[in-house]
Point group: C2
Chain length 204, copies 2
């Protein structure tokens, strides 16, 4: 339980902003210092290096995100409810943190070491041994509630249709005039269309 000083908080806040906007390589310690209203030397006093600072920011931010994400997996076993609520919660969650999605992608691109660690931590915290969905899908198949399919591919697809619009947001908004990924209109419609597509797609 280490107490976090006020300066430390200011630094983390500023660093988060800059890293999210510019990425690890593009970020400058000078800019972070300015934004935190201190000088560069203090950055190295609190965090030993740029790498350490980045790691701290990433872990803190992404852990909170993943924690929220995995908390949004419904507890019920009714597969229809599970899918409906998860897609809705997931889209809501991502639409609140669109920059974070692209931040994570950035890290993944560079090898994703920290991301792997964060995932492992979250799995442990929630006591998962595998993707929390898998069991419920498998059960539903055996019960005949949904058709026979590969649960892993279904999960990948579900995540994909939810997250892709935000990944490609700047692109979609350029390619498709009039579209506004973050608008309440689009999000509401997206939730409906996504669930309908998935649900109809897995009927027996």
């Amino acid at each position: 339980m280490e107490s976090t000083t006020e300066t430390e908080t200011k630094i983390i806040q500023a660093a988060t902003e800059v890293f999210l906007e510019k990425g690890k390589d593009g970020a400058r310690m000078q800019e972070i210092a300015q934004k935190a209203d201190i000088n560069k030397a203090l950055l190295h006093y609190y965090f030993r290096s740029k790498d350490k600072l980045y790691e701290t920011v990433f872990r803190e931010r992404v852990f909170r995100f993943l924690d929220e994400l995995f908390s949004s997996v419904p507890k019920t076993d009714d597969i229809e409810t599970v899918l409906k609520e998860f897609t809705e919660n997931y889209i809501d969650l991502i639409s609140t943190h669109p920059e974070l999605v692209r931040f994570i992608l950035w890290e993944i691109r560079q090898g994703g070491q920290f991301m792997g660690d964060a995932l492992k931590d979250i799995f442990e915290k929630h006591g998962f041994t595998k993707f929390p969905f898998l069991d419920k899908v498998q059960n539903a198949i055996q019960a005949g509630t949904i058709r026979s399919l590969d649960p892993l591919h279904l999960i990948i697809s579900v995540i994909g249709v939810c997250v892709y619009p935000f990944i490609a947001q700047p692109l979609l908004e350029k390619a498709i005039p009039g579209i506004q990924i973050s608008s309440a209109n689009f999000l509401q419609k997206r939730k409906e269309e996504v669930f309908k597509l998935i649900w109809e797609g897995i009927q027996p």
Copy 2:
């Protein structure tokens, strides 16, 4: 029709490698020069600056990719064939250039100026005024071949389920032991599962 010298080709090749691996900010002119077996000065002789070199590499590489992508939209009007062939072609295309997908994401993150331009060029070259899919989906709905739905959301979903596994590849392979996104096994299975999910999901 400017002719490209051998040295220029070597530079572009080396620069492509480095930019794809390290990103624009992470890339070093020194490394590019070494890989091209020349010295840094020549880089600035042929391309005025790092920015220009990056832009050249990006346009050339991404344009070819998009060109291939849009060429893979089937000509037929039979919506089942269109969807089946597009998903298969698209997954094949991406699996051949997984680094490129993440390269594009990188660019998108930073604003996606070049990406917008590339898209515009491709649209013009192919004479598109909008996403080539839209008409075919709309026609199929009116003909009653598929159920009523929002064509735009369907297209986003189709692209999403195809491309997401490659975007999240390093992550998925960490979170799901034993999975190999690039393996022939996974790709074959993915094509089948994706098409089945989509097709069943849009039946009347």
